[in-house]
């Protein structure tokens, strides 16, 4: 912890960065801290409790515009950072990335190659709860499954915390807010809530880091992250690990198993 604090202070002091996206102790759990001074940096913490995906802040123009940033990246934040670089939302090498090795040591990563190397060496956190949930829902007969999803999504009031918490939802104008034509009804109602979640997750195909931030953010505790988790499973099953193949749904591959692409 002290190591990170002193490194961040040095980076801020030498103006190598203007802002550091890290964690501080929150009310119950660690919470995001955007440190801009040595005084802020003294509040930084970084350990196994720091699992929130802070990559969401790296594309925020009002915070980052013209600034050089550093970040304390959890496993899933590292995956999101790789995608953001692949999608030209971040410049490779421009962000000072700190991460924890599988042994819990602090390490600094300069380029996307370093990030990918660490991701390869680090076992992915288990997703037993999500796996079990997906399996349980899949085993439901269609009518029961419909009842489950309509029951859950009827409660959604469209606060868009799922969208706001997602590092890959960086569009400046979201499809739900386009009104000419209006693709989705913007008010809360069971069917339009389902349309919203299906659209949100479809846009994540091959891009989602599977961090679960969408579900963790939901103030009503709706299991919207398991839709994304299922999508990740399907993409893996049909297209393999997306990590080194670019964006699954926008990459042309003549050897694709589908005929329509040729």
């Amino acid at each position: 912890m002290n190591e990170l604090r002193s490194k961040v202070k040095a980076l801020l002091g030498s103006s190598e960065i203007d802002l550091f996206v890290g964690y501080e102790q929150g009310t119950r759990l660690p919470r995001p801290l955007l440190a801009a001074s040595a005084e802020d940096a003294d509040k930084l913490i970084f350990d196994e409790r720091c699992t929130g995906n802070l990559a969401v802040y790296l594309t925020r123009k009002d915070l980052m515009g013209g600034k050089k940033a550093g970040i304390a990246a959890s496993y899933y934040a590292l995956r999101s950072i790789c995608r953001l670089i692949d999608e030209n939302q971040l410049q490779d090498g421009a962000t000072k990335i700190f991460a924890l090795t599988p042994q819990g040591a602090l390490t600094s990563l300069e380029t996307i190659a370093d990030v990918k190397q660490l991701l390869q060496e680090t076992p992915a956190p288990a997703k037993q709860v999500e796996d079990a949930w997906v399996q349980e829902v899949e085993e439901m007969p269609a009518a029961e499954r419909w009842k489950f999803w309509t029951g859950e999504l009827a409660k959604c009031f469209k606060c868009y915390a799922c969208r706001a918490a997602c590092p890959m939802c960086y569009c400046t104008r979201c499809i739900v807010e386009v009104n000419r034509p209006q693709w989705l009804q913007p008010w809360a109602a069971t069917l339009s809530n389902m349309e919203w979640q299906i659209n949100r997750v479809m846009h994540m195909a091959g891009r989602c880091a599977d961090c679960g931030a969408c579900g963790a953010a939901c103030p009503l505790g709706l299991p919207v992250h398991i839709i994304a988790h299922k999508m990740v499973q399907m993409v893996r099953q049909h297209f393999g690990e997306p990590a080194d193949k670019g964006a699954t749904l926008s990459t042309f591959d003549p050897s694709d198993k589908e005929n329509f692409i040729r």
Binding site: L29, K158, C159, Y160, P186, W187, A189, A217
Partner: protein, 339 residues
């Protein structure tokens, strides 16, 4: 205020009789670890053990989605069908805590600021509130810092306070409340001699809200807004769970070009689109400006214009926030602001 007692064994028979008398019951129901207000089919569904429901009770008067009117084009003319209050149910809101009951005052202040809002007022006329004092709280509760208390009857027609596990003190605060108890007088007893304060949760005061108002009134240009809001991700969770937030959007449910409904739905001043003009200009361009608006509106503009604060200390915003924007913590910091 009339004081009575109802044994626990008589509570459900009382509610059942109220229901048979033609009122729907809107009450907290526990489901998968969360408690939410619902129209209950049976009084057995009602939960009274929670500290706080995920959502407030405001939806009973200000639903998340409401049809304001419908229209249909007919041979060069337009037929309008105005808001129809006739189909609104009479409802007993049961088991809301004092922080939720108190929030109908600021809501009513907003919906009656100028022209009275028909849907809100029609719904309120059909609602009677039987609240439940808080016998427990959690670290997010701060009603006592914003003029409330775990045993306040403000906004309630009847306030129940648990006496041990056998029954409830019944404070009948309004005529609407009287109309609920008098026809069923046999179910009620004389109140026991208890110290009411000892039955309530102890909610420590965290800041002086008058001092907060005084400080922020002169802090429009302060850097504090930027600093506090840096981690805010700009979702609407805080506004949508808030019992006193009243921002709304107007939308069109068009059925082709010939007919449609005008819809009112919840909105949030924290959304970047909220103040975006057609020209592209946005007077609240950054999240820090939107955070400043949220706090000034609740703790400065509303008390001065509507004689009601936009916060009752329920703590829902802080429990719901994905990035732990703890409101009481932020207000405590603002109280100490150097001017």
């Amino acid at each position: 205020m009339e004081l009575k007692y109802i044994p626990k064994t008589s509570l459900k028979p009382w509610l059942e009789k109220v229901r048979e008398g033609g009122k729907q019951i809107y009450a907290p129901v526990a489901e998968n670890g969360k408690t939410s207000f619902k129209r209950v089919k049976s009084v057995d569904e009602i939960s009274m053990e929670h500290v706080q429901t995920a959502q407030s009770a405001k939806g009973i008067a200000f639903p998340r989605t409401e049809k304001l009117f419908s229209y249909a084009k007919q041979q060069g003319d337009v037929a309008l069908q105005d808001y129809d209050p006739g189909s609104l149910p009479n409802t007993l809101v049961f088991g809301l805590h004092p922080c939720d009951a108190a929030a109908f005052k600021p809501l009513s202040g907003i919906f009656n600021w100028d022209t009275g809002d028909k849907p809100f007022n029609e719904r309120m006329q059909r609602v009677v509130m039987v609240s439940l004092s808080c016998s427990k709280c959690d670290p997010f509760c701060f009603c006592t810092s914003v003029g409330g208390s775990p045993g306040s009857a403000e906004g309630s027609d009847i306030l129940l306070t648990a006496v041990g596990s056998d029954g409830y003190l019944v404070e009948v605060a309004t005529d609407k409340g009287k109309a609920l108890t008098e026809p069923h007088a046999a179910l009620f007893e004389a109140p026991p001699d208890v110290n009411r304060e000892e039955l309530l949760a102890r909610v420590p005061a965290k800041f002086s809200v008058d001092e907060v108002e005084r400080k922020i009134a002169g802090a429009f240009e302060s850097d504090v807004w930027k600093k506090q809001s840096a981690r805010c991700i700009g979702c609407g969770a805080c506004a949508f769970v808030c019992p006193a937030c009243a921002c709304f959007d107007i939308q069109e449910n068009a059925r082709g070009a010939a007919a449609g409904d005008r819809i009112r739905c919840w909105d949030s001043c924290g959304f970047s689109l909220f103040t975006l003009h057609t020209s592209g200009h946005n007077p609240r361009e950054t999240q820090s400006w939107r955070w400043r608006q949220r706090l000034l509106h609740k703790f400065c503009y509303m008390p001065r214009r509507l004689a009601a604060r936009g916060c009752t200390g329920c703590g829902r915003c802080s429990r719901a926030c994905p990035v732990d924007m703890n409101l009481a913590e932020h207000l405590s910091e603002l109280e100490k602001l150097k001017t």
